[in-house]
């Protein structure tokens, strides 16, 4: 039962990591590519890390929680680096897809 859970977590994690990279490869402009790695890859690695925590907890008998630290760290840093990369891209005016919609609510 536990083995099935672990196997499922590992495969789901790897799958989301792969989806993040597929997004990075195939989406048409930079701002859209940003979505793949920041969301999918983060959740993918998170799932693999949870699998690792469960695995080592049952293997050694001691509670192994330090994987949670990396997961938390990734969940805090991924949006920050995404924000900075988007800001840098806006700053040097990276091309946007033609059909990108611009909505400014309550501003000029």
């Amino acid at each position: 039962m536990l083995e099935w859970l672990l196997a499922a977590l590992i495969v789901i994690g790897a799958f989301f990591t792969l989806v993040g990279s597929i997004g990075l490869y195939k989406l048409p402009d930079f701002y859209m590519r940003l979505h793949g790695p920041t969301k999918a890859s983060t959740l993918g690695v998170g799932a693999v890390l949870v699998a690792s925590a469960v695995y080592f907890t049952f293997k050694t008998g001691d509670v192994s929680l330090h994987e949670i630290l990396v997961t938390l760290f990734l969940f805090i840093t991924a949006p920050v680096s995404a924000h900075l990369m988007a800001k840098a891209a806006l700053h040097i005016q990276v091309k946007q897809l033609e059909r990108t919609r611009q909505t400014h609510k309550g501003q000029d």
Partner: protein, 89 residues
């Protein structure tokens, strides 16, 4: 069971590496390359953790933690470089 799952996961993460590398080579703009590097380090963390489970050793975890910290710093420094033209003032 876990062994098979890890083998499948290796293949998937390996493919993810190839796709990110392709984006790193292709560009076309600098932020794309920074994003590709960012994705590469996140994929490396996944690969290291998988290796740790596969070989049953908790040592790989420390490497993953270090890569997480250093990769984040690298992304920050590169983005700051694009924003301001230099890293330190």
């Amino acid at each position: 069971m876990i062994h098979t799952a890890i083998m499948i996961a290796y293949v998937m993460v390996g493919l993810a590496f190839v796709l990110s590398l392709a984006r790193l080579v292709k560009g076309p703009e600098l932020p794309d390359r920074i994003l590709a590097l960012d994705t590469l380090y996140i994929n490396t963390i996944a690969l290291l953790i998988l290796l740790g489970i596969h070989l049953g050793s908790a040592m790989y975890f420390e490497a993953a933690l270090l890569i997480a910290v250093m990769g984040f710093m690298g992304t920050l420094a590169l983005s700051k470089y694009l924003l301001r033209g230099d890293i330190m003032e």
